[in-house]
Structures are given as C-alpha cells and as structure tokens.
C-alpha cells in the first residue's frame, strides 16, 4: 500500500496484549483514513448504546494517508470514541508532532479496547510494541508526564497523554500531545482515563511509501510557494495566530460575550493578536512541516499569571476571555496554560464557567455552592476553578460534568450554550446563521470544525457570503461538512486545505486534494468519489448517533439562539431560523423527515444500517 500503511495496532488493555491486523484496500479507500476508518471500526464493533466510560467503548487514534508525507500540514490525527460528555461521537483533532511520529511507526490506527486494572502506557518504537506500567505517572501533570516518558523511552519520541482531569473522568478532559497541543473536545481524555491508559509514546523512523513521489513533491512545492507568498504579503496566520480574530467577530457582533448573552465585547482590543504579540509572544510555532506557523510560543512574566507554553488560540480567548467577561490577556493566557497542564478542553471549560457565571449573577447558583463569588470578569476565580475542575474538588466536581449537566441540576438547562451537550465555539450563530445549522447537525455536537462555515461567513474564504441570511446555507453546510470530513480523514489541517487544496469557489471542489490523495495512495479517487467518501463517513457517523438514541429533536440549538434576539450590534434583532433550514438540509442529505438516512441514500453509499 501507498500513503496508507494498511496496519492497525489493537491494544487489549484488559489483558495487556497487542495484536496487529491488516486493512483491506477497498475499506481503506472507501473510508479515506483516520476519522473515516475509525467510525467504520467503531460502528462494526461497539454498541452505540454503550456507556462511554465502560470498558466496551473503544478509543481510536487515527492518522490519515497524508499524515507523514510531504503534504504540507500532513501532520494531524483524530481521536474517535463514543463521548462521555455528549453521548454522541467524539472526533477530536490535533496536530503538533505526535501524529507524524505515530504514522512513522508504520501503523495507521491504534485501537484501544477494554480497561486495564492498573495505570499503563503504550510504547511503540517502530516494530517494537510494549505495554508498560504507569503507576509512577498517575497523578502527574501533562508536562511532568511527558518529561518522565521521554527520559525512560527515547528523547526523540513523541507523547500523547492525559493529565489529572482525564484520570478523574472529567467529562471535558482532553488528550494532550507534545505538551501543548490538544485533542480537546468531547471528553476524549475521560475515555482514555476510564481505560487507565495514561499515555501513548511513539518513536517512528519509517518513511511513508508514496505512489507517485515526484508528482507529489512538485504539487507540494507549488502549494508551499503559494503559502509563502501569502505569508510574505501578511495574508496569513503567521503574524498574529488565530488570536487576530476577536476584533473581527466582535465587529460583526458575534464574539461570545457573557455566556453568549451578546456578541460585542467592549474589552476586545485587550485580548487580540497584536496585544499578544507585543506583550507575550516569543515566536510563531509551526506543527510538523507546516509552512504557515500559526502556533504561538508565549511567556507571561507576572506575579499572578506568570507561565510559559503555547497559545492562546482564538477559541480559548473567546471561551475563557470574552464569554467569561475577562479582558485581561495575561489572565486568559494563564488560564490556557493551566488547561493544557492539567489536560482540559479550553472551549468547554470557558463556556461551562460562563454558564455558571450567568446563573450566579441571576441568583440561580448560590455563592455557597461555588465557595466564592463568581461574577463575570473574575479572572482569579476562573483560574482557581479550572484547577478545581481538573481535580474534581469542591464546585469543580460539578463543573467537571460540563455546562449541560451543571445547568440542569439547577433546573435551568437553557443557560448551557451547547448543542448535543457540547459547548459552543466562538461564533454566535445569531450573527452567523450557517454556523447555527452546523452546530445543530454536526455528529459531535456544537463544533466549528465539522464544516466551518465561518470561513465564508466571517473570513471570506473562498469568498465572502452574508452571515445573516439563511438562503443557500443548507446546501453549503452539506458541502462543507463532507469536505471537512475528507480533510480530517486525510490527516490534513483545515487552515491549509480549505484555501489551497480546493478550487476557489464556495462549493469546495477538491481538485488539488484529490491529486494529493492519488499521488500518495495511487487509489484513483476522482473529486466526486473523494467527496462521496466524505459523505459516506458522515452518514455512518449519523447512523451511530441514531442507534445511540439521538433523534431529530436533538438537532437543535439553545433557546437563546432560537428565541432571544441578539440585543445589540450588527446582528441586532436576529435569531437562528433553524426550523427553516433543517428540513431542506435533511432533504439535500437524502435523509427522511426525521433526519435518518433513507435506504436509497445508504445503498448509494454502500452502507448498511
């Protein structure tokens, strides 16, 4: 095989045994890789009704055919499992250096099964696979864990691990890699912790065989030159990272503010990219082989908020900054460091805290339950409560369940700004309506990455469209969801893919992406069959959700988004007219009125219920 290694490592944690199996070429092609292969295995092997923290759930690390190839940003992996936060799927994505190293060991996928009786870690050193005791690591933070592991395995190895949060089954726990990168959403860290798996360490030296290496190199060289030209012009994320975004979304009136009560944040100038660059940036940091380098290596010198690490990213600034009413960038950066050290999703942490803040200010959440006042803007409370959440101490035990369970326990689920119990990312959908349809229909819940219509609605890529209309959005969300599924499954980063590997047209035609896939794998995709594979993956994920008990009623948004008009700003007066978009979306997807794929659609995709 080319591109793909065609090999899966199965790790039976109950019996502390590993086995290797092959992947057949047709399955490989039909499901692309990573995210796609993972759902195929999960659907075939796991009862979707399973308790996500039970031994019967499976945790899958999936690289794609383009991971560890010359493809720029071919450096990603997906973590797939049934989610303990949502009960739907987790498809959490991360970059950095671990995914490339993992693919270089010669495995496409790791499938973790069962539950160990004692803390363990997996050490994969090319063909040598060992399950090793991890009692000495249990309880350690993410950076401590990585430092110890590199010493006892290989200094050139790469590490993915959980922190104290994952160990304690915190439902918003992340799996961190390379210390500062995160497969963060949907509580994947809790699934890993439920299996007593502390870490995965990889050292790989095998180059990925390519079907047409010369053609691949030429196309990659062309793409890199275009990226470099854009970097030179200042038209890239290199200069300010994703932190450039808060003024843009605030200007549009969609920056989450005070738990999504409004979309305009007065303190936005204090929490933007230029401020980060002036005050805390050491330098830009790329993931493996990436020509963009959107990452931020940062340090804060401050008696209270001092620390060092990577970030913050836009989503973190929105969730732990403006949504919590905090305009102190040092504090937001410190909150980010604490989340990374303890292994917590910054988005869900921030939006769960802002939910608590709104309930506190409205007199629903008593101060005695929290143990301290919790008004919007209290940065010290945020940082203290992140630690408490990771360790499930005091009120942190309630926060650890995510905002939906927290708010429901107080009789007010409407203050949890979630879809399918996954906290919203940094775009208020009342002012970005395509995002509203995306949050309601993504297979993991409210995710911006499942089909990021913010690209055209906010950022004008590939072209700018009106964020306040609903016409044409069902069609676009369908196209974007399928396209982003392909990107995820291939092992690429969206920052490069959307702009440079699709035709510059709103319908996202994957001309270059198909060429890259074929140069790598030799599998003979057309643009159609590649998108069809993305659609196949998305539909299989949907079948998993339906079998897990999800219905059309779950394809919805919080009351605030459907019924409370945006109070100010350019989107003033708007709500999300989801009921006008959803039926057309179902129809375009070939689903029935209840949101279930029809027999005809399944037959077309070669899927069985």
């Amino acid at each position: 095989m080319f591109g793909w290694r065609g090999k899966i490592l199965r790790v039976d944690l109950t019996n502390e045994r590993v086995s290797v199996e092959a992947v057949d070429p047709q399955t490989a092609k039909n499901f692309i890789g990573g995210r796609g292969w993972a759902i195929k295995y999960l659907y075939d092997e796991v009862d979707p009704a399973v308790d996500p923290l039970a031994a019967e759930n499976k945790l899958i690390f999936g690289t794609g055919p383009l991971t560890a190839t010359p493809a720029p940003t071919g450096n990603r992996y997906m973590v797939v499992a049934k989610s303990p936060l949502t009960g739907a799927l987790s498809c959490s994505n991360s970059g950095g250096f671990f995914p490339t190293e993992m693919k270089r060991t010669g495995f496409d996928l790791f499938i973790f099964e069962g539950r160990a009786e004692r803390p363990l870690y997996l050490w994969v050193n090319d063909d040598e696979v060992e399950i090793r005791p991890a009692e000495h690591l249990w309880g350690k933070t993410v950076p401590e864990t990585e430092d110890i592991l590199l010493e006892e395995t290989d200094p050139r190895a790469k590490v993915a691990c959980i922190g104290p949060a994952g160990e304690r089954l915190v439902k918003i726990a992340a799996i961190m890699n390379d210390k500062h990168r995160a497969a963060a959403r949907s509580g994947v860290g809790a699934v890993m912790g439920s299996k007593m798996l502390k870490a995965v360490v990889v050292r790989g030296t095998k180059k990925t065989p390519l079907a047409e290496p010369q053609a691949m190199r030429e196309l990659c060289k062309l793409v890199r030159s275009e990226v470099n030209a854009d970097v030179k012009k200042g038209s890239s994320l290199r200069e300010y990272g994703t932190a450039y975004v808060p003024p843009v979304t605030s200007e549009m009136g969609i920056l989450p503010t005070h738990n999504f009560q409004t979309g305009v944040f007065e303190g936005v100038e204090n929490i933007n990219g230029p401020t980060l660059t002036e005050k805390y940036l050491i330098r830009a940091k790329p993931c493996f082989g990436c020509p963009i380098a959107c990452g931020r290596l940062t340090r804060v010198d401050d008696p209270v908020y001092g620390g060092e690490g990577e970030g913050p990213e836009y989503e973190t600034i929105a969730a732990l900054g403006s949504s919590c009413g905090i305009d102190n960038l040092a504090a937001v950066t410190k909150a980010n460091y604490v989340c990374n050290e303890l292994g917590v999703d910054t988005i869900s942490m921030g939006v769960t805290l802002s939910c608590a803040m709104e309930m506190y200010e409205k007199g629903i959440l008593p101060e005695s339950d929290v143990g301290r006042p919790l008004p919007f803007g209290d940065a010290d409370a945020v940082i203290a409560l992140i630690r408490q959440t990771a360790y499930r101490e005091g009120f942190g035990d309630a926060l650890a369940e995510g905002s939906y369970r927290l708010a429901s326990n107080y009789g007010h689920p409407e203050f949890s700004i979630t879809a399918k119990k996954l906290e919203f990312p940094g775009y208020d959908p009342r002012g970005s309506k395509g995002m509203g349809l995306l949050y309601a229909t993504s297979n993991i819940g409210a995710s911006h990455m499942a089909g990021d219509l913010a690209y055209p609605e906010v950022f004008g890529v590939p072209e700018k469209i009106d964020p306040l209309t609903i016409e044409g959005k069902p069609h676009l969300i369908h196209r974007f969801e399928d396209a982003f599924t392909v990107i995820d499954a291939a092992g690429l980063c969206v920052f490069l893919s959307v702009r440079y590997l699709f035709d510059p047209d709103i319908n996202l035609w994957p001309t270059r992406l198909a060429r890259l896939m074929n140069y790598a794998t030799g599998a003979g995709y057309t643009e159609e069959t590649l998108l069809r594979a993305g659609e196949r993956i998305f539909n299989l994920e949907r079948l998993f959700l339906l079998k897990a008990g999800f219905t059309k009623a779950d394809d919805t948004l919080p009351q605030r988004m459907l019924e409370e008009p945006m109070p100010e700003g350019p989107a003033k007066g708007h709500v999300v007219e989801l009921d006008k978009m959803l039926p057309e979306f179902y129809r375009l997807r070939g689903w029935d009125e209840d949101g279930a794929p029809t027999d005809a659609k399944l037959a077309e995709l070669g899927l069985k219920r």
Binding site: D230, K233, G234, S235, S236, L237, E239, Y240, G241, T242, A243, Y244, V245, P247, V248, E251, M252, G253, E269, N272, G273, P274, E313, Y314, E315, G426, D452, A454, Y455, V458, F459, G460, V461, K464, D466, L468, V494, F495, V498, R499, G569, P570, A571
Partner: protein, 79 residues
C-alpha cells in the same frame, strides 16, 4: 465628514501614527468611496480583503456616510 477606520490583523501596519489600537478617526470628503479611503492609507486593493461597514459586508465602491465605522482585514483563515 468623519469616519472611523479599523484595520485588523496584518493590515494594522497601514494605520497612521497616533492611531489607538486598531482604529483611527479620519476626515474624508462627502461622497467618498471606501476604495478611496483604503488607497489613502496604502491598503493593497489587489489582495482578497473583507470590508465591513458598521459590521456588515460592504463593497469597495460603497459611498461612505458620516459616522460610519469601516473595518478591513485580509481574507485568510480563522480559528
């Protein structure tokens, strides 16, 4: 008449000295188009860029009104 010009991301470099953060207030003649405002500050017009006037999409030939807030940034990717 007066408008407020905000230049985000790397367009920040085109702000005049004395600008506060991302914004500056500008005197412009009545009937001026957005494109004239941009060229006055040297913002490149051959690049893909996004223009918002009072937070809503606008094209370069739009005629400005007194008190408009004009925000401009390069079309790149998000976060």
């Amino acid at each position: 008449m007066k408008v407020r010009l905000k230049l985000f991301a790397t367009f920040r470099r085109y702000l005049p000295p004395g600008a506060q953060g991302s914004a500056c207030d500008v005197e412009i003649p009545d009937g001026a188009q957005v494109s004239e405002l941009l060229s006055r500050f040297g913002v490149p017009d051959k690049e893909s860029l996004i223009i918002l006037i009072n937070g809503r999409d606008a094209s370069p030939d739009r005629i400005l009104q007194d008190g408009d807030i004009v925000a401009v940034f390069p079309a790149m990717a998000g976060g």
